[in-house]
Amino acid sequence: MSRMAPIARTLRHPSYRMAMVDMAGTAVGIGAWGLVTGVVMVKSGMSVGMAVFMSLVVYAGSAQLAVIPLMAAGAPLWVIWLTASCVNLRFVIFSSMWRSYFAHLPLRQRLALGYFSGDVIYVSFMQRFPEPRPQPEQVPYFWGAATTNWLAWQVPSLIGILLANVVPLSWGLGFAGVLALLGVLLSLLFDRATWLATGVAATAAIAAFALPLKLNILVAIAAAVAVGLLIEALEKHRQHPDVVLVPSTAALPPEEKRRVAAGDEVPLREEEHP
């Protein structure tokens, strides 16, 4: 019983429920995407049992969609694994942010958190907790979001596997998944830097679409990070520093020294007349 106690406490935590509410809208889109992925697995020629196994064990929508045609074509294992690794590279970047919140937990829990994290969980978590420091309600919040995401993905995915021949792919139901990600993306745009970075990422992803292994996603991330940093630097440059009068005898306090070093302030020594 003692092993179950922390789980029960997590399930009853208000943050757990809050995360489920935050994720509810997006869950519909994730579900549509899961359904399509389930159908695609079986339509590619995979047996129902193997498709169920893949859905439950791999649990990675974009990587699954990328490797399903490779597996169907009998590609070598290393090609399949390399493709999945490249598609998953964005999660490596996200994991550096997760670390600021969960580094204090034991390794087994950190691995579990990693396995159950996804794009949409990452975004809603970061909006709830923009400050990168650990707080006790973060773990229940994470599991609330992760449970919603898991159910929203796995249930439709299994339905898709079982009803593969009934669900019409030509209707374009997977577009609901794109719309869910669009909504999440729009929620991240609030200033010139984020809008420009998004435009650059979208352009780069399309321009580099012909690259193998879905590397266009990585090209887009690199381009957007560069543009974001550039805009931050430019905006800093355009801002005029304040002139601050400083008594000629006093030393600059450390806080002012930092502001001077950052270029926000120019100290001006006051002349002393005896």
């Binding site: 064990v57 294992l77 998953n88 999660f91 993306l185 990422a201 991330i221 957007a224």
Partner: protein
């Protein structure tokens, strides 16, 4: 009882994919000590999630068969415009999906856009 080699190979591939899921998503959480990242990179990484999202969806909206679409008679374009407009009006993701699909499905299924 004979063992189907293709099935074994597929199972191995799938187990490997599961390991990749864990390692990639937990990557920087795995070491006990923090790997030092330069400060500019940490600031820049806050643009990574929105870049990854736009990189995933932009081709889904603007491309067909690996080519940029050359027509405005594509159901995805009005759907995305209406969905975005709804998002900025009400800020709800569920409504964004519903509005987008309400525009997309009739155009796509009935008119074949």
């Amino acid at each position: 009882m004979s063992i189907d080699w293709d099935t074994v190979l597929a199972a191995i591939a799938i187990l490997g994919l599961a390991v990749i899921t864990v390692i990639s998503r937990a990557f920087f959480m795995i070491p006990e000590r923090e790997l030092p990242l330069p400060d500019w990179l940490k600031r820049g990484l806050k643009y990574a999630p929105l870049a990854a999202l736009s990189a995933v969806i932009a081709p889904e909206i603007l491309m067909a068969q690996g080519q940029l679409i050359g027509t405005v008679m594509d159901a995805r374009l009005p759907a995305v415009l209406c969905a975005s407009a709804y998002y900025f009006w009400k800020r709800g993701i569920l409504g964004t999906i519903v509005v987008g699909m309400a525009v997309y499905l009739p155009l796509h299924i009935a008119l074949g856009w």
